[in-house]
């Protein structure tokens, strides 16, 4: 490197500050600095300048070419939809674990009685306890189909309900110790029926919270790429009706809300 002078002193001073110079070069730089106080002042500023720190809060939210990963914002919207569904299921699970009521929402044959919307609301009122139970427990808390109508499709039933013993254990485990006794003993073994095909009519009439839940689900699904795809894949109302007449699956309320929202999106 050329000797230190007015035109190259900056790179010399960087090497000097980094301690990369040999003894002879270092002495030469120091002699030059004595004759150039302005450069010496700059060197002090250089040494005293703050060093940058990593900005770990900044992340990449766009798509990742080659990996198929969608933008993170889109994934978040889908997570919001999933959260809404989980919230929808939670009141039912809390209710079951709270008062031991073995009722649940089931899809029934057309000739089975339809419970008025008000009773659905009562059944869905969340218990006054923290919503800390995990989603898995919410599903496990679904009781065995003891009072299930004969028309329930067995294949679908197996797919959506746990073994009776497991359900019993889970309910017992989830039962609070100091909660007051439930006042619904009369209807303890009677299932609450909601005709799957009437979900769209029943939900809006049932409760403002459910309407809000349905709207939130619909909004979340609308904002989600996967939600929009799902909506497009939903059959038309008549086809869905036919399909559900055949299946008659026991269906958690969260799924009903989601299907309802997807149907609304598909219109």
């Amino acid at each position: 490197m050329e000797k230190i002078n007015d035109s190259n002193y900056e790179q010399w001073l960087v090497s000097y500050a980094d301690g990369e110079l040999d003894e002879a070069s270092r002495r030469e730089v120091e002699r030059w600095l004595e004759q150039h106080p302005e450069a010496a002042a700059e060197l002090r500023l250089y040494n005293d300048a703050p060093r940058l720190e990593a900005d770990t809060a900044t992340t990449y939210t766009g798509p990742l070419p080659g990996t198929g990963r969608q933008p993170r914002a889109m994934a978040l919207r889908w997570a919001a939809a999933a959260a809404v569904v989980a919230l929808a299921i939670m009141p039912l699970a809390l209710h079951n674990s709270h008062d031991g009521n073995r009722q649940q929402l089931v899809a029934v044959a057309e000739d089975e009685p339809i419970v008025p919307a008000q009773e659905v609301v009562e059944t869905l009122q969340p218990a006054a306890k923290p919503a800390t139970q995990p989603y898995r427990k919410a599903r496990m808390a679904m009781p065995a189909p003891q009072a299930q109508p004969a028309a329930v499709d067995t294949e679908a039933d197996e797919a959506t309900s746990p073994a009776p013993t497991t359900a019993e254990e889970t309910i017992a485990e989830a039962e609070p110790t100091a909660e007051p006794a439930a006042d619904k003993t009369e209807s303890q073994d009677e299932p609450v029926y909601v005709d799957f095909l009437l979900v769209e009519e029943t939900l809006p009439k049932a409760d403002q919270q459910l309407i809000a839940l349905k709207n939130a689900t619909q909004e979340a699904l609308q904002g989600s790429y996967l939600g929009r795809r799902l909506a497009r894949k939903m059959p038309a109302d008549e086809e869905l009706a036919d399909m559900m007449r055949e299946r008659r699956a026991r269906t958690p309320i969260g799924v009903l809300v989601t299907v309802d929202a997807l149907l609304a999106l598909n219109k």
Binding site: Y46, A49, L52, D55, T58, T59, Y60
Partner: protein, 164 residues
């Protein structure tokens, strides 16, 4: 680098490249655009890039994208940086030190901001920074020297003395 290695590394590399790009251009949206293009280039060439070379490759590609952006904007709108230059607040106005650092960074040229980030945060040598940005080692050192001196001066003017 195999496809699997790329898939595993891409999210972390993308975050790092975005931090670098935001530091250089000051805009998350512009940074992500540049990183997305750079990622596409890396994905295209992933078979030729070693895993340990993936990060420098991505940072270099991001830098080139940013330079193209600056050039395009210079042509289109007549300004050279997305950040305001030489806009230092009066010394009597008090700022949080973090804001002050941010403001002093904004007065630097994109090359200076890039070099500071690559040196201080990424820990690259002058030679590596030169390879990444297309500058010589001498240029890198000069840019770095001037950037630090300018930053320190700005901070002093904002009331953040050398001992703060």
């Amino acid at each position: 680098m195999t496809s699997k290695e790329y898939t595993l590394m891409a999210p972390r590399l993308a975050d790092e490249a975005t931090r670098f790009a935001v530091r250089v251009c000051g805009s998350q949206a512009d940074a992500e655009d540049a990183v997305q293009e750079a990622l596409a280039a890396l994905w295209k060439k992933h078979g030729e890039v070693e895993p340990e070379g993936a990060k420098p490759y991505l940072l270099g590609a991001t830098w080139r994208q940013l330079m193209m952006l600056f050039r395009r904007r210079t042509t289109e709108r007549g300004y050279t940086q997305s950040l305001p230059a030489d806009t230092v607040a009066p010394a009597n106005e008090s700022f949080d030190l973090r804001d002050a650092l941010q403001r002093s960074m904004q007065t630097l040229q994109p090359q200076q901001r890039a070099i500071l980030e690559l040196r201080d945060v990424q820990g690259y040598s002058y030679r590596e920074i030169g390879e990444l940005t297309g500058l010589t080692v001498d240029q890198v050192q000069v840019y770095l020297f001037r950037a630090r001196v300018k930053m320190r001066k700005q901070l002093n003017e904002m009331g953040y003395g050398e001992n703060q």
